[in-house]
Amino acid sequence: MIDPILMDAMTYSSLLGIMTFGLTFVRRTTGVWNIAHAGLVTIGAYVVFTCVSFLGGNPYIYFLLAFILSAVVAVVEYLLIIEPLRRRKASTTMLLVSTLAFDLVMLSILNIYADYLQNMFSLPSKNFLLRKLDFILFDEPGIFWVSLSFLMIFLVVLYVILNYTKIGIALRSCVCNPMLASVSGINVMHTNLLSWFISGGLAGVAGGLLPLWMQGKPVVGDSLLALMFCVSIVGGVEEIYGTVLGGFLVGFTQILVTSALSIVLGAAVIPYKTLIPMAILVLTLLFAPSGIAKVNWKKILTIVKFGGASKRKI
């Protein structure tokens, strides 16, 4: 049996990574930081909760539906807000603020939906946990194995798509130089739509996983939004594997450091555990602004090996 703290850290890191894949993917391929990604995660959680409540069965069988519904909402967000604003030459800041507005709208709708489920069907829709429905494999909960497997599968699939397929390279070219992409025959709007669809779908799957490990509520995605940004920036948006590195660095540090500090200083430190990822974020922005995936480790090792500091930027 795996040590519970280690198991917790691995599950948490994997969930953070899966949640952040979509955020990083859409930033990498369309240049937009999508705050409403949090709401898309929550939609995934509620799709699984609703299906399990009314149809029964194992939560995992509803992940495809969570993928599709969150993906469709992401496409609606793109068509309603991002594309019209882009046509008006809106800045990236303006686009970011517009996604915040969309997230707030989604948050309101999700709250209304949760109230409806609670009042009409007496479901615990404002605080639910689906752990009891999870399977056990080798004495460990299914969420541990599934989250880890999904993380690796998504990483490989997204890496291959972005680097080795025509459509993946087209997605990257559209953010690099949209005018040249369209002149080259690429339908920029279609590629952007595909990006948002994939990103939304990944958020939905991540949301579906969450209630198997933590309490689901209308703000479950938003409560993790700062961490998602932290993982994306710490890992680096340039490389999709940066999200996994960031997820594990942030997740492990948060769980292990909080655990160690609570032994030394007492349980009073636990509410401040989110300060740890924020400290990592600040350090990353100061010393490796492009994220840890872009750090030139070879150069650092050379400096360490031969001593003395290099004046050149690492």
Partner: protein
Amino acid sequence: MLSVNNLNSGYGKLHVLFGINLECDKSEIVSIIGPNGSGKTTFLNTIFGLADIFSGSITFNGLQLNDKLPHEISKVGISYLPQMNSIFADLSVKENLKMAGYILNAKELKDTVDEVISIFPVLKTFLSRKAGTLSGGERQMLAVAMTLMRRPRLIMLDEPLAGLAPVICQKLIEKIVHLRDKLGVGVILVEQNAKKTLEISDKACLIVSGRSIFSGKPDELLESEELVELYLGLKAKDHKGMFK
């Protein structure tokens, strides 16, 4: 091949071009010349669907292009080398060529990459390098190579010689002439360097403040002392009869 009739265009409410006419046939180089800010780039942008058409028509081999989007226009056999940002800096050279040939199928793409590399053999040495790390000359070679990837019948080059060393300029000019003479491609060339451009052109169009004030043979343009000295910065006497 390409026919532009009484074109009025611009960006949003900004009217830039007024009543421009132009014809470009296959195996023909047409130069668009004029001072800075005269509307040369807007002219090319308009043909490629990147500016708004207020009135007039653009047809290519009988096909009306007025309402077509840029990615649709690239499929009819026209390639465009924009003046700025003409490569994907974050992609490798090989990926740049692949994206330039996005509309081709896998077999055509492979063949065309080989063809283009045979025209620009220097590209072969840095296929896996990020395009953003190339020198100015190498970037421009790549950009021109990218315009050829779609096997175009007409290519539009916006200041392809800008900022290049004289040796590279000469090489590029030779490539442009090669495209016309050996591959039968029509070329619309926008250049600040009027002298170099007119030397290889079959037709010339002088645009000033969005209006075409001359359209015809390059030597006819050079016969007009006023136009040459006023707008091209050349001394008419020195260039009269240079094409005879």
